[in-house]
């Protein structure tokens, strides 16, 4: 029975597209930390609703508000409102979405300082009326950068955006744009006070009191046993960057799942025979 069970971790567009594709060919359970499907998209967006309905009618199981934390020996440790449970599964489809690169991933040298925060953290703190800084630097130009800018728009901060590519334009409002320079170090005493940028051996030191990390999207991987690609019996359906429409993300997810199904002819045949 569990030989044919597939756990889909993440109910964003990639996760529900994968689940809809797998439904009927395996016993599918979708988990998400949030209590509704959709991920970063609104739960009532028509494509999300349509995929959710297809999953429902195909008998997909839902474990919403439930966090997967560990994948080992063919079982997934899940933590949620109904308790802490092991979920047996033959495969995991991991649809964890993306996050901005960390300071270590950006090789940002210097001490560990207050005021250097990932964009999702800055957005939620700003929503809780925390003023992020008076001279804010946003590293990145994509969706997180825009979200961070929007969240602090009313805070009367001077916002400088750092774009990796020379000549790159930014579609949201800002006070200054520095493009083609790479951030290499932060400095400060307790709180960040400067960000050092580098280009072709030249350095430029920027005064600031907040640095928001909003660039170089990485796949968000946080389930032990499903961290590195390849991982045993794990199919990763995570877009490579935060660019891309939901249609592209869903299509990439379906393609990855199609490969998973074609890699497992025995399982699919048996499931079809049972059906």
């Amino acid at each position: 029975m569990s030989r044919n069970r597939i756990a889909v971790v993440g109910a964003g567009i990639a996760g529900v597209a994968a689940a809809a594709q797998l439904a009927g060919r395996a016993e599918v359970t979708v988990l998400d930390r949030l209590p509704v499907p959709g991920g970063v998209l609104p739960y009532d967006l028509p494509p999300v609703r349509e995929l959710r309905d297809r999953c429902h009618s195909a008998g997909v199981g839902w474990l919403l508000g439930t966090t997967a934390v560990r994948w080992e020996n063919g079982r997934l440790l899940t933590v949620g409102p109904s308790g802490i449970r092991w979920l047996d599964a033959a495969d995991v489809v991991f649809a964890g979405g993306c996050r901005p690169a960390t300071a270590a991933e950006l090789t940002l040298a210097g001490p560990r300082l207050a005021g250097v925060l990932a964009a999702p953290v800055a957005v939620h703190l700003a929503e809780a009326k925390v003023t992020m800084g008076r001279r804010v630097v946003i590293i990145g130009t994509g969706d997180w950068a825009r979200a961070a800018r929007d969240a602090i728009a009313h805070q009367r901060s001077r916002v400088t955006v750092i774009a990796a590519q020379a000549g790159q334009q930014v579609s949201f409002s800002h006070d200054a744009l520095i493009s083609g320079w790479s951030p290499v170090a932060v400095a400060g005493n307790g709180r960040v006070s400067t960000l050092t940028l580098q280009r072709a051996g030249k350095r430029h030191v920027l005064d600031c009191d907040a640095v928001i990390l909003a660039g170089s999207a990485r796949p968000l991987r946080n389930v032990d046993g499903a961290i590195t690609d390849p991982a045993d019996a794990v199919t990763f359906v995570q877009p490579a960057a935060d660019q891309g429409s939901w249609e592209q993300v869903a299509a990439a997810s379906r393609a990855a799942v199609a490969r998973l199904l074609s890699d497992q002819p025995d399982q699919v045949r048996r499931t079809e025979a049972e059906a």
């Binding site: 930390r33 966090t67 934390v69 560990r70 440790l77 933590v79 949620g80 409102p81 109904s82 308790g83 802490i84 449970r85 092991w86 996050r99 901005p100 960390t102 300071a103 270590a104 991933e105 090789t107 040298a109 210097g110 001490p111 560990r112 300082l113 207050a114 005021g115 925060l117 990932a118 999702p120 953290v121 939620h124 703190l125 809780a128 009326k129 925390v130 003023t131 992020m132 800084g133 008076r134 009313h154 805070q155 290499v184 170090a185 400095a187 005493n189 307790g190 709180r191 009191d209 907040a210 990390l213 968000l220 991987r221 946080n222 389930v223 032990d224 961290i227 590195t228």
Partner: protein, 476 residues
Amino acid sequence: MADARAFDVVVIGGGVLGTAVAARLAMTTASVCLLEEADDVAEGASKGNAGIATTYYAPPGTLEADLIASSWPRWEDICDRLDVPFSRPGALTVAINDEQVPALAGICDEAVAAGTRAELLTGEQARELEPMLTPQCRGAVHLPDEGLIDPVRLTCGYAELAAANGASIRLSCPAMGFDVSGGQLTAVQTPAGPIRARWVVNAAGVAGGTISALAGGEEVRIWPRKGQYWVLDRAFGSRLRKMVLPVPMPHTRGVQVVPTTNGSALLGPDAQDITDPADKGTDTGSLEALLRLTEQLVPEVSRDYAIKTYAANRAAAEETVRVRPAALRPNLLHVGNRSTGVSSSPGTAERVLGLLRDGGLECQDRPDRVDALPKIRRLLHDPDPESLPEADPRYRQVVCVCEQVTAAEIAAVFNRHVPPRSIEGIRKRTQATGGRCQGSVCMVGVAFLCSLHTGQPPAAIRHGSAGATLGVGSEP
């Protein structure tokens, strides 16, 4: 009722040695106060080290060797009582070329003479014990009893035990000066006023020289020696079976590849003598050098696994290990250690108690002393995770997914004598925000829980212990 401003012993410094001394003394009839300048314990070298509980570091017959020898057999018992993660995976000191091989026999002989087990291995034997070791390995010394400890949890555990036994733990309370009468210290001056003391223990780490000078003691030259580290993901660290060390250099044990008690791995430390103890910055050149050095030991080392980098300053000194009365102030004890503070902390605490008794402090172990702390069950390590919600329903709420930390665990560390006071304080006690996404997902939740437990608004929540808040203020 005892005077809240007079103690038998005032310990200056909330690092692993100061808290170990306070924990030991607090189990006796002596009254104890611990002063720490920062807003938390374990803010200096005690939180920036590799967490090796070593069995052998110095030649037999030295003070350092004695302190380590009287400490290492006790770790299983101490860590069980203080709820501190500990394991004994053993260590390999590895020769990676033929020139290094002759040094191994000497290391092996000296380790055995110092009282620990040690065996000389061929390269093949070493690779059987640690398959991730470089094929270039020409031979190794295996020390099977070398231990791994969480040095921050150990320091917090000592402080908690001290507090549970009635010690007064005063944070954000630097020693600023001393009152002296008849050549003896009589009180420590603090921002909160004087604290009278019959004895003072100077366990101030890098600041130990300054404390000696303030007290009118002899010159003790101590300077910061910066060490930088990479932290690599559990996806790498959990496959590492042994601590892997190079053949030591004259002044340092060298750059190591070691697993940690939470499954990650550390690369480091290097050693750079600096002047400013507040300088805890990493630099790109040093970090690159660490990767190159450690690749020679374990080729799979890669920045692709990097979670974070950090630097910390150990207290370098010509007198590398000090546990003795000050030359000019007989009721001041200097307690310090350049490299093996964690490894020697239980033995050092016993030795300080002995020195104080020799000096006339009359104290006995109290029959009603607390000798163990309540254990906090952790989702990451619990053998029966499914039963956790019965103990506390908040185990059903994961806050930090990367490190598998629940709301129940965060609530538990606030329900302590020495609770966290910042995001960093929560990380030190639970690992929340310390994983591979570095709080990208969970730091807000951790900040809000910190608000909930401290009653402070989110804008007042501090990030680190230096006083800096997450933002710079709040909107009306």
